[in-house]
Subunit: 157 residues, 3 copies
């Protein structure tokens, strides 16, 4: 089967259905393509039940944060697919900036953002590996628990 | 009139005069050009009366924050003009990272950063549309209410 | 001596020995090269005694923060050297994003991040000058006092 290597078949094998595109939250666009780089707006954590809110170290923790970061990554994959037509056009994930709504001195933002990083590698293999910064701060949009901003390199046509 | 489409004439029509360039705040440069990309340092909110300070959700709000973000955007336009000689050389705003000095769990950073996003679209039209992340945090330089960091694509010569 | 202009000889003249590469903190890579750009993961402040922790404005200050930012910059130079084989392949530092673990309304993140900016200029000269954003927030990985994320332009072969 020629499509056995495609990202879509890997998503199917993993039992993953991509979520809907995020609603607009301001006067900006979800993605821009400049040369072979795809720039993506930050997306906040949400799933079929709505926004995943909370503050790590207060009313949330690493486990919930990991799931929230994974949800952000799935939304970004949906945006990437809409931008490129197919996830097979991803050459590599270049960078991920992960923001965690966290109590002062919460030390485990990296363990939370792994929820996004792990998903990219699970779905895209080596092409999913990226540089990253994971930081904790006090006030994400809509009280979201996690926000993920990223860039992707696009395969040459 | 050939200049009826220029950014300067649009600024004039909008009654906007660009502010002075920001004072240096550390050992860095206001912009760098790499190929067709213009990278800009973060600028904090200030106007003719000095720094626009405050904390959204404590002693400030969305309306003041929106004005502060707009002030940041005007300062960035002044930096872009100084970097490129003319705002007509802007091909597009690529990305905007907006930082809001905010109380814990303040949910409306996007509504504040719209003050910058709206200004870019107002002045540059479609070329002003960009990807974005808007986050709230606790400690901006000089107690500024907003900081805006961005990148721009430059028109080919 | 032909190597009198090399970065290594400047490091030696300054009495600087680069620190070890940072330990992995999550499912990501320390650097990626895309065309002539080198993207680097954020690194947190650590020295031979371990992580440099603390909160500026609570149990730390500008002087300790400056030293922590300088430590981040040294670690990034070690990563850049491992990525490129030699620091002489650095065409220029393009951007630095500096994150400071800070008390609410701590105003001096720029004075702290100067510890990184000054080091880059000290070691790389004009090529070390960069655009920058310096922000204070509540929760860095492992309670680090400072984190530095950056990009570098690589000399053409």
């Amino acid at each position: 089967m020629t499509d056995s290597n495609t990202v879509q078949s890997r998503l199917s094998a993993l039992g993953i259905t991509l979520p809907p595109l995020p609603a607009k939250g301001g006067n900006y666009v979800p993605f821009k393509i400049v040369g072979n780089m795809l720039y993506l707006s930050g997306v906040v954590s949400l799933d079929a039940n709505g926004f995943i809110t909370g503050t790590a170290g207060v009313d949330s923790d690493v486990e919930k944060g990991y799931a929230a970061a994974r949800a952000c990554a799935l939304t970004q994959l949906a945006v990437i697919q809409s931008a490129l037509g197919s996830l097979d056009r991803v050459a590599e994930v270049v960078s991920v900036n992960g923001y965690v709504n966290a109590a002062p001195n919460f030390p485990d933002a990296p363990a939370i953002i792994n929820g996004a990083s792990d998903l990219f590698v699970e779905v895209l293999g080596e092409a999913g590996r990226h540089v990253r910064a994971a930081i904790g701060l006090g006030a994400l949009p809509r009280n979201a628990l996690v926000e993920v901003q990223m860039t992707v390199r696009i395969k040459e046509a």
